[in-house]
Structure formats: C-alpha cells, structure tokens
Symmetry: C2
Subunit: 341 residues, 2 copies
C-alpha cells in the first residue's frame, strides 16, 4: 500500500519540517507562504528546520493544491529560418529575463503552426507573432488561458497584444532620406505576408505621399526576407536605367546583402547609394560602413509582454490591452545627402 520511494533528491516534505520544528504542517505552510499569523518563535523554528533539512516545497503539489501554474509558455512558430534570426533570440532573452524577475517559469515552445497547441498546465501563453497559427491563439483564448500576442497587432480579437510601430518606423526612415535630399527612394520589402513587412511598406508609401513624392512601383522590390531575394532585388535596383539614389530595406540582414552587392558592382556606400535598414541587428555594425537603421525595442517588447501576461493572470479575466511601441531611427554612416551630378 505504501509507496516505495519518491524522488531521492526531493524527499523531505513539509511533514518532515513540521516534525523537526514541532508544529503542524499547516503552520509550516503558513511560514513558507508568508500568510496568516504565526508566532515569531514558531516561525523561527520552522525557518531553521527548513534551512537544516534543505527543504524545497514541491511545485507540483503546490500547483495541484492551488490550481495555479507559474509556467508561462512562449510559443514561437518554427518557420523557416526563425532560429537564425536575431529577432527570436532577442525575444527569448527579453521574455526570459522578465520571467525570472517575476519568478515565472518559462516554457519554450517551438511550434509549427499546423499542430494544435497542447500546453498542459500552463498559466499563460505568449504568442510570438501570428504567422498562420491564429487557430492556436483562438483555441487558447476559448479555453480561457491568458494570452498575449507579441510583435503582431491584433485588432480583430479580444486579446492583449504588444507590437512595434513598423509603419511609423518605416516612415521615419524614409523621411530621413527625404530630408537628406533624396527623391528617388526605393524600398526592398520583406515578406508582405507578415504584418511587419506589410506595415513597413505602408510606412514607406505614406512617407512618400506626405512628401508629395510619387510612388513608383518599379522602385518597390518585394522579397521574402531571404538573402537570395535581397541580392537579386539589389542587382535590379542598382542596374536600373533610372536607379534610385537611396533605398529603405525591410531588414538589416537584407540591407547588408544590398551593401555587399553594391560593392561588388563597384558602387560606394553611401556615396552612390544611401541605405537604411530595419532591426538594429548588431551585424549592421560590421564592416567599414555602419548601417543606418530603425531600432526595434525588441527586448522591452518582450519584457512588457510578460508583465502584461502576469497582469492578466492576476486579474483572472481577460481585459486586453493593446500596446504599440515606437521604433526609433539610428543614424550611422550608410546615408549621405543627395547631390546631383
């Protein structure tokens, strides 16, 4: 009838502590959880026993008893290349840091959008981006699991989200080029299936319009964020009959590729072509010419998402908040004022 032996590394339970300190397990529980009232002398006895026995409460028992979970899942769609992206790491870093600060456990879940989530025992979920895995989000919401979406502005669902003002950032970037005197400004987009890329394109167009510059479709090069696509876009851009004098590129990784292509084709950056990227990826610092770019506050976005999730969990009901974080221009050396020649 009696159970044989439990986990040898965790075998001291609240019972042992109670026995050692001569009080009831209830009292031990009280001092562990810092709730209720316990006579000081007793508290001290318990605390000593805890230290003595190296007692660590079992999270499983705690969670079983309370019905609460301190686990936060970070769901990252495992799309091609995500793991080579600066973005993912920053996210994990930010979320991880804040989870630790808030004493939450972080469960990293790499998902392909297709399979339904089966995150059991999770207190809340952070969805990084929504790329084809909207169903997972809706499911979780339906199950009343606290959710927050990060890096995607969801306006048609009752869910907290925290995203970056991609359109605004793009607009700033293009405005800057205009201020430098450029009128022929091209744009190399990312994968416009993603919200970020679509918004960046939107911001590009808006900036041109506001500056009364005609939008030329032959100056817009659509890519899928891949290096290959960036390369051919760059070639077309540079070899064009009436080439642009500046280009706003939807990611730093691609912007670097554009720089490389330009050099190969004998062009100097920024003399022959001004380039602005997006991301503030540290690789943008590599090489002779620092890349001017738009900084995404990824870390703070990630951190905020955990805070927001925590708020939702504490609230015990879904009172969504929608947050848009500004994206700031970082000026380095890859742009020069336009001079006619």
């Amino acid at each position: 009838m009696t159970r044989t032996k439990k986990n040898p590394s965790q075998n001291i339970s609240i019972v042992d502590v109670a026995r050692a300190s001569g009080v009831s397990i209830t009292t031990v529980s009280r001092v562990i959880n810092k709730v209720g009232t316990v006579k000081d002398s007793n508290r001290i006895k318990v605390l000593n026993a805890v230290k003595e026995l190296k007692f660590q409460p079992s999270i499983f028992a705690q969670r079983l008893a309370t019905g609460k979970s301190n686990v936060v899942a970070l769901v990252i769609p495992r799309y091609e290349g995500i793991f080579y992206s600066f973005y993912a790491l920053e996210l994990i870093r930010g979320v991880g840091t804040m989870c630790e600060a808030l004493k939450l456990d972080l469960l990293l879940h790499l998902t392909d959008a297709r399979t339904p989530l089966s995150l059991r025992g999770v207190g809340g979920i952070i969805f990084s981006d929504i790329i084809g895995n909207r169903a997972q989000l809706e499911d979780s919401l339906a199950k009343n699991i606290p959710c927050v979406v990060i890096n995607y502005y969801v306006d048609d669902l009752d869910v907290s989200c925290i995203a970056i003002d991609n359109a605004g950032g793009a607009e700033n970037a293009v405005n800057y080029l205009v201020e430098l005197g450029h009128r022929k400004i091209a744009h190399i987009t990312g994968d416009v299936m993603t919200q970020a890329a679509a918004k960046r394109l939107e911001g590009y167009k808006r900036a041109l319009e506001k500056n009364s510059i005609k939008i030329r479709e032959d100056y817009i090069f659509q890519t899928d964020y891949s290096r290959g696509a960036a390369r051919s876009a760059a070639e077309n851009l540079i070899k064009a009959a009436d080439p642009a004098t500046a280009v706003f590129v939807a990611s730093d990784a691609m912007a670097l590729e554009v720089m490389a292509v330009a050099r190969e084709l004998g062009k100097n950056i920024p003399q022959d072509l001004s380039i602005v990227g997006f991301d503030d990826n540290p690789s943008g610092l590599y090489g002779p010419v620092g890349l001017t770019t738009v900084r995404q506050p990824l870390i703070s976005m990630a951190e905020e998402s955990v805070k927001e999730l925590n708020r939702l969990i504490a609230l015990k009901k879904n009172v969504p908040k929608k947050i848009l974080l500004p994206a700031e221009l970082v000026i380095r050396e890859s742009c020069k004022p336009f001079v006619a020649r």
Copy 2:
C-alpha cells in the same frame, strides 16, 4: 470544506471521464497511459468521453503522483553577449527540437554563474558550457539530479558530457592552410578562459608542430572573442613587419571582422591573406568572399544532449557517457594557395 472552483480551463478531471464512460478512474488512467489491459469496448468508451469532454490530464497531479518530472532545464550562463551569439540559438533550437520529439518540456534558464540554481521540479538539467558555474553543476549532481554538460568536455567529474572536438577542428583548419603552401600562419584566439578557445589554440599549435613549422608567439593574437579585440588583432597582424600569409581565427564573427579590416587596409582576400574561421555561422556567407570555416555540429550536439539526458533519467542512476563530436572543415573562398612574390 469543499474547494470553491479550480482552474476554469481545466475543470474536467479523470473523475468526469470515468463517470461519463461508466468505468472506474483506474481504467481511465490505464487507457490514458496506455498501460495494463483494458477491454476494447471500454477503451473506446473512454476515448470517446475524453474527446467529448476535451479532457486533458493535469500534469501536476501526474507528477505529484509519479514523482517524475518531464521537465528538462537548459541552463545557459548569461554571460555578456551570449544572446547575440549564433551558438546560443543553435543550442536552443537543437535542444528544443529534441525535447519536443521526446515529449519533454523545456525550461530555459538563463543564469548568472554566481547564484545557485533553484530549479524545482526539474527532471534533468542540461548545462550549456561551464563558464564559472561549475558549482551549480556539482550541486545538481550532489542532489542526484540527472545532468549533462554540453559543449564542454568535463574529464574530472562523473558526468555525461558532449562536446565538439575543437582541437581536432582547429588542426584540420591549419593543416588545410599548410597544404595550400602557407608557412606563416597566424592565429587569433578566442577567450582562452573558455575551453573551446583553449582547445582551438592547442589544435593550432599541434598542427604546426606536426608539420614542423615553428610556433611564433608573435603570430598568436589573444582576444576575448570581441569584435574590438579582433579588429586590433587584425591590424597588428596585417601591419606586422613580417606578416603572416594566412590566419586561423577562432570564430567566424571575428574572421569577418578581420576581412573587413583587411579590406580597409587595402588588402584583398584571399589574394593577400587567407582566412579560416570557426563556427560555420551563416553570416560567413555574406559579402563577396565566402568564409572558409570549421563547422561545429551544434544542432546534433544539442539534440544528442537531450537524448543522453533522457537515457540518464530512465536509467535512474548516473552512468555517464563522454562524447566528442568531430568538427569538419567547410571550404569556401577565403583561402588561396600561397605563392611567393
């Protein structure tokens, strides 16, 4: 006495399923866990009820009852810049993938080496590297928690480890340069406090010795893996009175910096200087000259570590295995045969 209400998203328990399918909870448990023998007709009833009620067993109750945890912690020392490193992401990717395959939960724990680990309820720990956090490893081992160390060969502790043959990889790289006719081969080290960097230096020296090339201390440039250090090393290397014709650099990130410096100083790669890196970081593909490098099987290392940990957990005792994975040379365009001029 009765508890008010539990987690509203998880409120159907094994009891409900038992009731709905007209069997005992034990039988339900049996079919859930696919153990024991259950009459087919009953199994079907249960399965239907499970589907009907959208029942999901509580992992906390399961773990409480079994005393087992399916959580695997990946402990990554939060050293400066780790989150900008290709290495960390690859690791997380590999470990994450394998955890999913093995139905394990992944707890990502970013630690500073100083604070003792407090990973409660974890079934096993994967230590990524051992940089100053040896105490954490020893502690966990003492607590009988299954551990495996990844990317660090531990020969003085009874623990499973899986590392990359840094010395061998370095040796291959240098041998390759020798085969190309180079005799003046420099080395830019990483932070030799890390095992990887130390081993790479060791491999470099060994290759030279085996080829009867005298080791010149003025050809060895020590760095801390940082870009700044790489830059000044590169400058000294190139501007030296009797400059090396080839250089083996301890990381791709630094090798790229060396390339950049060389270009700035008017040198051509590979005509004026042959370069081999280490990592096979995708950024090595950027730019006009593909970087010849040593590929670390990071992903398989990460995957193997989870398998090994799983083995240890199943074994219920510590029967360590030490694994060393080969590192293979990837030849691209950054090296040329040496020709006297």
